[in-house]
């Protein structure tokens, strides 16, 4: 073990580890570019993307021609509003290679999404695109103080999913020692973390909670280990979950944002301030739109995030609708970065379900549970249909704080949680208490909602 870590270990108690100010990494320089320069760079790159897509992607050319728009009509940054949106269905409809803008000889990597229904979506990278991607991830890591000498455990899945390899290349670029652990085999994950003196972890937040739980069972207290920060993403999570992770493991939990259609993880990331996520705007241009009308909304207003790749050549994405609900923050970040921030993404319009005419996001239920319980229990939302009427059941695992020797005490908690959810959603839910470990754990994105309505209809 390195001496620095040993010293560090001595000073670690069970309290939160302090975040030390770190010298700026040169790779972060573009994060601080003056706004005017950023805008002219964005415009130049946008025009390049539009030219490339118009010349090489038939779908894009057809849509511009339909609207009698020429690439040359893009004269200023705001002209991006003239361009049509791209949606996920476009990637499915042109499966597998229909949106590629570079010849296959220049494409060095393909990834594909899991695609819960039907065909997956395929994304492509040129060598230069891979460099842009790893640079974006490295800038995200630099923003939270990852540096040479860090030992990074990548517990995102490797393979077609962009999470594993994306995080991997960013950590390598910044000079960390990378452990490509991939997902699964949680006891071994904990063993690696302990034995290798891991300082940084990258995975989904729900999987990290599972790792904490597993460590506890193995008698390993993560707060005693050198691990000091986690880069979590690939699913919406709440501030409450962040504070729970930080409390239970003693690490700092940072948010990384990305999606395969744009590049993978590294589109944006929280900085040491932990207030919103900076978007690497020189690579990815953000807009917020009203999801119903497509109208662009001013900064500070909540809506659907739309992203345009400014430096991706294998498969440029022009005005891609992410389905993620957020807003662009208007205040300047205390870290001094000039690139804008979006607020933490707690909702995806994809995750929304409609029950008795009410739009519900799983994170709303999580927020309600956390208003009652200081520790987020493992939970799952089950939708059923009984004689044509939709019902929500929220299964909650009992834990130390919920369980009591008096039945009435547990019933009280059950009713309080159920009322808290009802207050937020306006509909009655049935809360069921379950035995510990009865809800399946996920090694990647947590499956919060089980919809049994079609089976029971």
């Amino acid at each position: 073990m390195r001496p620095a870590l040993k010293n560090k270990k001595l000073t670690q108690g069970t309290i939160m580890k302090p975040t030390k100010a770190v010298p700026m990494n040169p790779i972060s320089a573009m994060d601080f570019i003056p706004q005017e320069q950023l805008h002219s760079l964005q415009l130049a790159r946008l025009r390049e993307m539009v030219d490339l897509a118009y010349a090489n992607v038939p779908l894009f050319k057809a849509r511009l021609d339909e609207r009698s728009i020429k690439p040359d009509d893009i004269q200023k940054l705001e002209d991006i509003r003239l361009l049509p949106f791209t949606v996920k269905a476009d990637l499915r409809d042109t499966y597998p290679f229909g949106l590629f803008a570079s010849p296959m000889k220049d494409i060095v990597r393909l990834h594909a999404s899991s695609g819960t229904t039907g065909k997956p979506i395929v994304v492509a990278y040129t060598r230069q695109d891979l460099d842009v991607w790893s640079t974006a991830v490295a800038r995200a890591l630099a923003a939270v103080g990852v540096h040479e000498g860090d030992i990074a455990q990548i517990s995102y899945g490797y393979g077609l999913f962009t999470g594993g390899l994306g995080a991997h290349s960013g950590f390598e670029k910044i000079g960390a020692t990378v452990i490509p652990a991939s997902g699964g085999n949680t006891e071994r994950q904990v063993m690696l973390m302990k034995d290798f003196g891991v300082t940084c972890v990258a995975c989904t937040p729900s999987y990290f909670l599972h790792m904490i739980e597993t460590a506890e069972k193995m008698g390993v207290d993560m707060r005693e280990l050198p691990v000091r920060l986690g880069i979590f993403g690939a699913e919406p999570w709440t501030e409450a979950m962040r504070s729970q992770i930080e409390k239970k493991s003693g690490i700092k939990a940072y948010d990384i944002y990305g999606l395969s259609e744009i590049v993978g993880p590294g589109v944006g990331c929280s900085c040491l301030e932990q207030e919103g996520l900076h978007i690497f705007e020189d690579f990815f241009y953000p807009e917020i739109i009203d999801p119903a009308t497509g109208e662009v909304l001013p900064d500070g207003t909540e809506g659907e995030l739309v992203l345009t790749t400014l430096a991706k050549h294998a498969m440029p994405m022009i005005r891609y609708r992410t389905r993620d609900i957020t807003s662009i923050m208007t205040s300047k970040c205390a870290c001094g970065r000039t690139i804008r921030r979006i607020s933490k993404i707690g909702r995806r319009s994809d995750d929304m379900f409609i029950i008795r005419g009410v739009n519900v996001f799983p994170t709303q239920i999580e927020t309600a549970i956390m208003s009652v319980e200081s520790v987020l229990p493992v939970y799952q939302i089950i939708l059923t249909r009984d004689h044509g009427l939709d019902n929500i059941e929220v299964d909650i695992e009992v834990n130390e704080t919920i369980f009591h020797d008096r039945v009435s005490a547990i019933e009280d908690i059950r009713h309080t949680i159920s009322h808290a959810i009802e207050r937020i959603l306006g509909i009655r839910v049935f809360v069921k208490m379950c035995a510990p470990n009865s809800i399946p754990r996920s090694e990647g994105k947590a499956k919060r909602v089980i919809d049994r309505r079609n089976l029971n209809a």
Partner: protein
Amino acid sequence: MKLKQISLFVENKPGTVNSALKLLADNGINISTLSLSDSKFFGVLRLLIRDWEKARDLLEAHDFAVKITDVVAIEVDHAAGSLSKVLEVLDRHQVNIEYLYAFAAGLHGKAAIIFRFADPDDAISKIRSELKLVEPLDLFREIPN
């Protein structure tokens, strides 16, 4: 004076109580007495076990939700009206009972009632001069391990 009671969360479906009992049996842990209370969807199984620490560690290692609570054992005669007399004393001192169950095993020919009070120390100080409280060692004396 106080006894450590183990409470377990049990889901309301066949086999869950036995999964706990079998685990204890397989590890040679004898249960001295137990009670089960239930709501519509789950139950709480409460156990008195001589080596409660071993039982707790074992149950926790097998993913049971376990809670340790202090309870008080009060000796009663095997005679009509003896429990009623105990309750009268508790009433007089305004000691509220959360729940109770019987410990039928022989205590030199007597029985014990296990009481869960909100504040066991307060209850003990109020009733100890009038009622015979059973020490844990005495309670388990005639029970095989």
